[in-house]
Amino acid sequence: MNHDVTLPRYVVALWLLPALLLSAVPLPSWLGPFWPDWLLLLIIAFGLASPRSCGPGTAFVTGLALDAFRGILLGQHAFAFVVVAWLVHRFRLRLRMFTPLHQAMVVLSLLWAYQFLLFWIDGVSGHPLTYWGRWLPVLTGAAVWPWLYGWLSRHVVRH
């Protein structure tokens, strides 16, 4: 599957909305720090498979929705999402050729870049959050990636 698929936009929206809700589900406190950034994982997955229905524009709107939903600095997640979505778009042809494990490593670095941007904006805007647990979703996100993407490409993004 090394060429672009074009999913209808409403399909992408139908997947992103539950992911937005999933990011706000109340969790036991031990699980909270391990909860992956589902929304970003989906943006990467759809951006990889169907770039024309999930590009930087979708990432921007989704990020803004997440900012509003969480009541933090407007534009923070939008910024980080757009950067990641652009990177995915730029390297999607190569990314698709990788084995799942190799892909997961790239996703790990994308998630790390995302978390680093948030960390940086937190610091600049004067709410630094230096607790080490904030980097855990990077690891768990990369760990679930092969299954998430495998499942999506088998059931949602078929040719």
Partner: protein, 304 residues
């Protein structure tokens, strides 16, 4: 969902357009962040968004509520009876305490009348339910189901049965966001109950841990000291319990002591919280008085 795959359209030519779009969006996001952070222009935008997000938040909250309702409906008879007995016992105990409390309150009023201070007691309170919505794993904030429609205002103090929880940080029409004591951005002026020492208690990001970062190494503070709100700043009513000191470390090489405290309120477990209105003991300082027009009544000057 089967879709067509027109791969021919994608090529290097599209990459530039997407890059441009991404650059514009990044700039837009930066603009948004700056205007949200520096100027408070986006307050009304936020209000609209918070109101729009209300149904979604309710959607996240509802399965938990449904689960609790099911649990309550199918509770066994024995458990209900046992609960009932326990609550009866507790009620008797509380009534006994209330009797004593009323006597103390009357005495307190008399003493306050003597010292001519205005009492700082809650004049009105409102129960609010905490929505089971997670606002990010490291942000110590919660959403409650009361908003400006119910009279909630920005900076309002929020308490539970054991002590202060936090203050209202953002108000929508149907809901409000509370910043908890434990949020890294929050600090509260307190007084040590034992000796009246004043300082600030700051949040750490962990719900069961607060820090007292501004006390010097030789400050008179011990493990077990009760910290009450001092009422400075006018956000919290004076004399409300806040936390108990749990750890005091005095490093001979550091100028400041490392002090930790445990909040008395159950910050991360509360389902219901109390919003309170209280009369702030304000003293009108007459700025028009110049040194040569000395006050006629010398007693008036000592009031402040």
């Amino acid at each position: 969902m089967r879709v067509s795959a027109p791969g021919a359209l994608s090529g290097p030519a599209r990459g530039g357009a997407v890059g441009l779009k991404a650059a514009v969006l990044v700039l837009a996001a930066v603009g948004l962040m700056v205007s949200d952070q520096r100027q408070n222009h986006l307050a009304w935008v936020r209000n609209v968004i918070v109101t729009a997000a209300w149904p979604l938040r309710w959607l996240v909250h509802s399965p938990v509520v449904a689960g609790e309702w099911l649990g309550a409906t199918f509770a066994t008879r024995e458990r209900l009876l046992e609960d009932n007995r326990r609550l009866h016992d507790r009620q008797a105990l509380l009534e006994l305490r209330l009797l004593r409390f009323e006597a103390l309150e009357a005495e307190n009023q008399r003493l306050r009348a003597i010292s001519q201070a205005v009492p700082t007691e809650a004049t009105r309170s409102l129960m609010a339910e905490v929505l089971r919505v997670d606002l990010g794993p490291f942000r110590q904030r919660v959403i409650i189901n009361q908003g400006s429609r119910h009279g909630v205002f920005l900076g309002q103090a929020v308490v539970d049965a054991n002590g202060i929880i936090g203050q209202v940080r953002r108000v929508g029409s149907m809901s409000a966001e509370i910043i908890l004591l434990s949020d890294p951005e929050h600090s509260i002026p307190v007084q040590v109950n034992r000796n009246g020492l004043r300082t600030l208690v700051a949040g750490t990001g962990q719900p069961d841990l607060l820090a007292l970062p501004y006390l010097s190494r030789n400050a008179d503070i011990r493990v077990g000291d009760l910290l009450l709100s001092s009422g400075l700043g006018g956000v919290f009513p004076a004399g409300t319990p806040v936390a108990r000191v749990s750890e005091v470390r005095r490093d001979p090489t550091a100028p400041l002591a490392i002090i930790r405290a445990t909040p008395l309120a159950a910050l991360d477990r509360d389902r219901e919280v109390l919003l309170i209105w209280f009369a702030t003991p304000t003293v009108d300082i007459d700025t028009s008085v110049t040194p040569d027009s000395a006050p006629q009544n010398p007693a008036a000057g000592t009031k402040r």
